[in-house]
């Protein structure tokens, strides 16, 4: 039946003379984009056949983004622009470049998501939603509904990343205001606290109802715990479960110079992708994942020595990346524009490291992991690179662009935000 439908659609497309739809393989249907890549691919390095263009630039620290079915882009800003914290970008002439821009919302933040007729946005303490009209435009930018309030924001890991499932729930990251839950944060010789008191109200993912106003800790559910900080978060509809990208702990060498040298500390621990269900524990602060030993290792603040394993009650990551690359965006690709390999796979926007110093910094790229049936089906690879604008980046402030948010357009284009240079990129296939 599915095959018949696909064939009918293909036939219809051929009959209407459209050259934008073509079939590849037996039962897939790919849609070509109508926009052209920039001549220099916006400065990015991409796999063969892909191109990129700049959608908008000079925005004030664009964090997460959402693209509507009409192709408009909503951008959450970490720094107000003209007093506004959310931008609506519109491409009137269809060349892929935003030529109209409107701001609304008086709060800065990170979270941005469009679902079922609402735009969801987060500050560092609250989650709001704006009702959208049939064309996915915000009806009243001055009157959002407050969905969640009173979330902890104690400076470190304060961004409240959000995503929604298909059953009316919203998931909010509440990052731990600490590196490794020491009595004194980031202080050499200060022991780890067991049990870690932070985990009651932070260091995890909380689940709330997407449509109920003024929820707080009492009405939410601590869905997953033992997560130091998550900025990349996405619901995988293929597998019907939540995936998150953890920012792993810092400073193994600074705090334990006799156990870890500066080079080891630059690589460890892994930045982890976890699949989480209700009740999942990912192990922070007691363990970290060593991607070279492929083991959960007892954190040195809790008696570890870089070798002792622990964390039997904690899950293993589904993918382990090199340390400190700072995964800030996660997106499962469901579009029909990119080749079959990319279908249902994960794109991850890495913000780029700071805690590799004195080693050169790394990251500043968008990675890809192929997935089949909700599980990784191959190794991760760099998909889009060149954001930093150079190869020897000593300090993250030297990078030209730092990838942060990801979103998928209605034609299957991949959008990437950059909160350092203020650019929105769009990656297309078949330039």
């Amino acid at each position: 039946m599915k095959k018949t439908l696909v064939n009918s659609l293909l036939l219809a497309a051929l009959l209407t003379g459209s050259a934008t739809v073509f079939a590849k393989g037996k039962d897939s249907l790919r849609v070509a984009t109508t926009v052209k890549a920039d001549a220099d691919n916006a400065g990015l390095t991409l796999p063969k056949g892909f191109g990129a263009l700049v959608v908008a630039e000079n925005l004030n620290e664009p964090r997460h983004i959402a693209v509507t079915k009409e192709g408009d882009v909503y951008v959450k800003l970490a720094s107000l622009q003209g007093g506004k914290g959310i931008l609506w970008l519109h491409d009137a002439n269809g060349d892929g470049k935003a030529d109209e821009q409107k701001g609304f919302g008086n709060f800065k933040g990170t979270g941005m998501y469009v679902k079922d007729g609402y735009l969801y946005a987060s500050s560092d303490e609250e989650v709001f939603r704006y009702k959208l009209d049939a064309g996915d435009k915000v009806i009243n930018g001055n009157a959002p509904e407050k969905i969640v309030t009173g979330l902890l924001s104690r400076h470190e890991h304060e961004a409240k990343a959000i995503t929604l499932d298909n059953s009316g729930n919203i998931y909010v990251n509440i990052g731990a205001y600490s590196n490794a839950c020491q009595v004194k944060d980031r202080t050499k010789g200060s022991p780890g606290m067991k049990p870690c008191p932070i985990l009651d109200s932070a260091g995890g993912i909380w689940q709330f109802k997407a449509n109920q106003p003024n929820q707080t800790y009492g009405t939410g559910v601590r869905y997953a715990t033992g997560l130091r900080n998550v900025v990349g978060i996405n619901w995988n509809s293929d597998d019907n479960s939540l995936f998150v990208m953890q920012h792993g702990r810092d400073q193994l060498h600074d705090l334990f110079p006799t156990m870890f040298d500066a080079k080891q500390s630059a690589e460890l621990p892994a930045e982890c992708m976890f699949q989480v269900q209700k009740g999942t524990n990912c192990g922070w602060p007691y363990v970290y994942y060593d991607q070279l030993q492929h083991k959960k290792i007892l954190a040195p603040e809790f008696g570890g020595d870089g070798k002792k394993t622990a964390g039997e009650d904690a899950v293993d990551p589904v993918v382990a990346f090199p340390g400190h690359l700072a995964p800030n965006g996660l997106l499962f690709y469901t579009g029909n524009q990119f080749p079959e390999k990319y279908k249902n796979g994960a794109f991850i926007a890495f913000h780029g490291s700071w805690n590799r110093a004195p080693e050169p910094q790394k990251g500043f790229f968008v990675a890809f992991v192929p997935f089949k049936n909700g599980k990784p089906s191959g190794d991760w690879e760099i998909f889009a690179d060149g954001f930093a604008g150079g190869t020897n980046i000593a300090s993250p402030g030297d990078a030209k662009h730092r990838p942060c948010g990801l979103a998928q357009g209605p034609d299957g284009s991949l959008y990437v935000s950059d909160d350092q240079g203020g650019t929105i990129f769009r990656i297309v296939y078949g330039k």
Binding site: A78, N179, D185, K188, Q251, D254, A357, P358, D398
Partner: protein
């Protein structure tokens, strides 16, 4: 004529710069050299080799009054650390800074003299005696 004035002015500026460099006594120059080693050990991973810090997380040490201003405030900051948001030029920095009480008076003097005379900064040296006096007031 205009050219001559500009050239003379530039020459004067450069000479003043050289004089300023030379006015650093050998003691201060040695303090800066020792301070650089301490900076690499204890400060660099957060504040970075360039002293530029990390956007939104670790504050820059470049031309900020926190570094080039009041000595007492600066030494106290190093000894007590910080769990507060720091705001510099409209940008806020969120990571906690550990207290560096384990550093001796002369080490704090050296590392701060280095920081106050690096990354484009040019401020007075700090002595171990000054650090000792300030440490006595820090609870």
């Amino acid at each position: 004529m205009k050219k001559i004035i500009i050239t003379t002015a530039a020459f004067c500026c450069f000479s003043l710069y050289l004089i300023a460099r030379q006015t650093q006594t050998p003691e201060v120059q040695e303090s800066i050299a020792r301070g650089e080693k301490l900076y690499t050990l204890y400060c660099l991973s957060c504040h970075q080799k360039s002293g530029n810090g990390v956007p939104h997380m670790n504050p820059p040490l470049v031309k900020t009054s926190y570094v080039t201003g009041d000595i007492k405030k600066l030494v106290t900051w190093v000894l007590k650390g910080s769990t507060e948001n720091v705001e510099i030029d409209g940008k806020s920095y969120s990571n906690n800074m550990p207290a560096q009480t384990y550093l001796k008076d002369d080490q704090i003097a050296d590392v701060l003299t280095y920081v106050r005379n690096s990354f484009g900064n040019s401020s007075s040296a700090i002595t171990a005696t000054e650090v000792k006096a300030i440490r006595a007031t820090v609870k």
